[in-house]
């Protein structure tokens, strides 16, 4: 059931993602080049800057993004096609898991202050709630990106805790099953939020 649900939600989200980009007249290749240039720019635009923390922060985005892709492929692909995460995929998944979790934690730590919500973001959300027209300007998209970042942070908590819990002889079979379902659903939501973040980043860059 959960496999079917995952496939359905992922397919709908990806289709919606591309339809939305298409509405903004952004093609797939353009999207790829924006992401690639963006990652390149963020690592090179301030090459002269001697601040090591800035370089670490940009490097973290790279690492976390590619690790996310790796984690996504090694979990969803076998789960969708065989119903289980086993075999080589499992080994790859759990090998990359600590690297991904630590890079995500550092990313959250380093970008939290920069992406904290401010009054401008609240007013942008108010615009969304009041269905004001000016919701696709750079400021609004930045606010949505910030919100997505915090949503991502929130979702990563059950994502990590559910799997940590299953490592210890605390939960019985029923709770083990529940924690696995929580882990899968969290991973699904996490992936959708990442998709949203990519969308906001691409549309932000296009504006």
């Amino acid at each position: 059931m959960i496999e079917f649900l995952s496939i359905l939600i992922l397919i709908i989200s990806i289709i919606y993602f591309f339809v939305a980009l298409n509405k903004k007249e952004i093609s797939f290749s353009e999207m790829i080049s924006i992401i690639r240039d963006g990652l390149k720019d963020s690592s090179t635009e301030k090459d002269g800057n001697k601040n090591i923390f800035f370089r670490i922060k940009t490097w973290l985005i790279h690492v976390t993004f590619y690790l996310f892709l790796f984690m996504f492929l090694t979990s969803f692909v076998p789960t969708i096609f065989s119903g289980h995460l086993t075999g080589l995929f499992l080994i790859l998944h759990i090998t990359a898991a600590p690297l991904f979790s630590i890079s995500l934690a550092l990313l959250v730590l380093f970008y939290a202050y920069q992406l904290k919500l401010n009054e401008n973001d609240y007013s942008n959300f108010e615009k969304v709630i009041n269905k004001d027209s000016a919701k696709n300007d750079r400021s609004s998209i930045l606010s949505y990106s910030k919100f997505s970042f915090w949503l991502l942070t929130f979702i990563s908590i059950p994502l990590l805790l559910s799997i940590i819990l299953s490592f210890y002889p605390i939960a019985g079979t029923d709770w083990q099953n529940l924690s696995l379902i929580i882990h899968r659903l969290s991973a699904l939501l996490f992936s959708l939020v990442v998709l949203a973040l990519i969308y906001f980043y691409v549309t932000f860059s296009k504006l």
Partner: protein, 660 residues
């Protein structure tokens, strides 16, 4: 002329009348369940879809056991009286069949071993061994994959009963006349039929002696066996030593025998057991004593030194249950085996309650969970994938796996409980246990394993096992294995001996093809007259059958010490060695890793096991990451709440200003 016609019509009329009488007599006898000729009754019963119920077929609901003070009947349905001079053994078919429909019971699991098994789930075969001919054959009429039908190797039902009847409940194989071979006709007439022996399970009298039953089978006293085993009589003499024309009522048929050394089978009833109505008391029970089951279903370590340390009772027995609490049956005597898919195979959802998971974990449809107070296991910390990939028995049943698969003995394979059983530690056949094998349902389960070994003839890639009599008479002498001791690691022959044997048969008219030898998972044949070649062969693969007992308590289950019990580089679950028992001393691999039977890849298992060395590191990193992310989220959430509050107060104050 007219008189002749009249006489003819009168004669025809009498014939008709007398036939009607015979017919009505049969019908009456059927309804009253009073039968005189067993074979005739069988044929009538087979034609009638539903035989009329007898008094003992359906219980009235009272949970107590009715007192069985009954008359004894012989096979001809004559009452056995206490003062008879030459009494016959009592017949269970006639005695028990007086109140219970024999034809319904005789198709039960234990009695119908000649019938195909519809479930196709491998069970323990009857194992024919002849170490001097390097032969080990897993035999079964059930059609289980990997077994050989006894008929195909020249084992007639008579021979089968004689060889394996010591641990057989009697029934179809010896009663079904269609299976009888003409060459055994006279011997069957002397030994009689081995009817379903109801007493083997239901006689609660502790003096019932199954070992005596086995001794009678060895003497071919088939129809005397049940009587002798009971506490009602003694049987002396041997049908095996009687000539083919032996007739117990005619002393001329055995007058030449030296009666000092042998005598015809004779029953001596204990007259004190009969009451004044010639009735005897049977202490019958439905709650079968575990010892009765264990006589045929024991599995034990072959090593006496370890036995007292390692052997323990099944946890269910220790808790006060008996075998029949789970392996129950109705009137049909179709015993519940208790495997997880049985309810699907037999299309009866209630049977799910009798499997491990059905009793301890989940119910399906109208099955009952928690029978006999079965506790629900928590399985704390065990990822659910284990329950999809492993049967319950992997962790909870049989012996804990060690670095080498243990050698065990079973009642039926090693004739345990029978006088004269070989008590040496390593005794042919060599059975290894537990070996973890991937079953047909995709789950791994513990099994017993034997390596078949037999001589066969190869003709145009068609391979057929040779009859045991041919092997004993022609091949065995050439092997020159002069040991008469049936113990040790099993005899082996060198290539040179094989070449000699192969050459002597490949150039003779005795066989219609080339002689080949199948052993240790390989087939050996001549490459040229001086060299042998061997290759892997499907029919030579080891035969395995699932085991579910003894169930160990949770504290002794596999995995109780953590993941390392299975997920480590030296885990006995994956990397225990299974010995290849071969009749050929070819110096090649003598062991095979357990992982090969599990359908798993050893490199992957090693890699996966390796990942567990880093598991503490993984846990630490994940916990640290979760802590950092949670701390950041909470701290910014608090300031966020402050900002939200501030934002709404600002908005409301602006609105107030506008209103003012």
């Amino acid at each position: 002329m007219k008189k002749n016609y009249f006489a003819l019509i009168l004669f025809a009329f009498f014939i008709l009348i007398s036939n009607e009488c015979i017919f009505s007599q049969n019908a009456d006898s059927l309804s009253a369940a009073v039968v005189s000729d067993s074979s005739a009754v069988d044929s009538v019963v087979n034609k009638v879809p539903e035989a009329p119920l007898k008094i003992g077929d359906v219980a009235d609901g009272n949970k107590s056991i009715p007192i069985h003070l009954i008359k004894l009947y012989d096979e001809n349905r004559f009452t056995i009286e206490k003062n008879e001079n030459h009494p016959l053994p009592f017949s269970t078919k006639q005695t028990c069949g007086d109140c219970h429909t024999y034809s319904k019971i005789k198709n039960g699991t234990h009695f119908s071993i000649d019938q195909k098994d519809s479930t196709k789930r491998n069970g323990e075969p009857f194992i024919y061994t002849n170490h001097r001919a390097l032969t080990l054959l897993p035999l079964s009429y059930r059609g289980w994959k990997g077994t050989i039908n006894p008929d195909s190797v020249g084992i007639t039902p008579f021979l089968f009963v004689k060889k394996f009847g010591s641990h057989f409940t009697g029934g179809n194989i010896s009663e079904n006349e269609e299976l009888e071979k003409p060459e055994n006709f006279l011997r069957w007439e002397i030994s009689g039929k081995l009817e379903v022996n109801c007493l083997v399970c239901h006689d609660a009298n502790s003096a019932y002696d199954q070992a005596d039953f086995a001794a009678q089978i060895r003497n071919e006293n088939f129809k005397w066996a049940s009587t002798s085993a009971s506490n009602l009589a003694n049987v002396k003499g041997s049908a095996a030593k009687m000539p083919n024309n032996f007739d117990p009522y005619n002393t001329n048929t055995y007058v030449d025998l030296d009666l000092r050394s042998t005598s015809p089978p004779t029953v001596f009833y204990d007259e004190t057991k009969f009451d004044h109505d010639n009735k005897v008391f049977f202490d019958i029970t439905k709650n079968i004593n575990k010892e009765r089951c264990l006589f045929c279903h024991t599995t034990t370590l072959n090593n006496d030194e370890e036995k007292y340390l390692a052997e323990q009772e099944d946890v269910h027995i220790t808790a006060g249950m008996s075998c029949v609490n789970c392996h129950s049956n109705g009137m049909s005597h179709d015993i519940i085996k208790g495997y997880s898919e049985e309810y699907l195979d037999k299309n009866k959802s209630q049977l799910h309650s009798f499997s491990c998971e059905g009793c301890h974990l989940t119910s399906i449809d109208n099955s009952i969970v928690g029978r006999n107070g079965a506790p629900k296991p928590l399985h704390k910390g065990i990822p659910p994938i284990h329950f999809e990939k492993l049967s319950c028995t992997v962790c909870h049943s049989s012996y804990m796996p060690s670095d080498k698969a243990k050698m065990v003995k079973t009642s039926r394979a090693h004739k345990l409980g029978v006088p004269g059983a070989n008590k040496m530690a390593l005794t042919y056949p060599l059975i290894q246990s537990p070996v973890f094998v991937r079953a047909e349902n995709g789950k791994i389960e513990p099994r017993n394993l034997i390596w078949p070994s037999y001589w066969a003839v190869k003709n145009n890639n068609e391979i057929k096992a040779l009859e045991i009599e041919f092997v004993e008479n022609n091949i065995q002498p050439k092997l020159e294995l002069d040991t008469t001791y049936n113990f040790g690691n099993g005899p082996q022959v060198a290539d040179s001996t094989l070449i000699k044997v192969f050459n002597s048969f490949n150039h003779s008219d005795l066989l219609s093809g080339n002689l080949v030898f199948i052993t240790g998972g390989r087939i050996y044949e001549l490459e040229d007259s001086t060299k042998i070649k061997s290759s892997e062969y499907e029919a030579a693969e080891p035969y395995t059958w699932a085991i579910a007992h003894n169930v160990r308590p949770a504290q002794q289950s596999l995995g109780v010490n953590g993941c390392d019990d299975c997920h480590s580089l030296n885990s006995n679950f994956n990397f225990s060695e299974v010995a290849i028992i071969s009749g050929v001393d070819d110096k090649s691999n003598s062991t095979i890793s357990m992982v090969n039977f599990e359908g798993l890849d050893s490199i992957y298992q090693s890699l996966f096991s390796l990942s567990f060395y880093f598991r503490p590191f993984l846990k630490f990193i994940l916990i640290f990451s979760a802590f950092v992310i949670t701390a950041v989220f909470l701290s910014f959430s608090f300031s966020g709440i402050k900002n939200v509050s501030k934002y709404f107060s600002n908005v409301s104050s602006l609105n107030n200003d506008k209103e003012i």
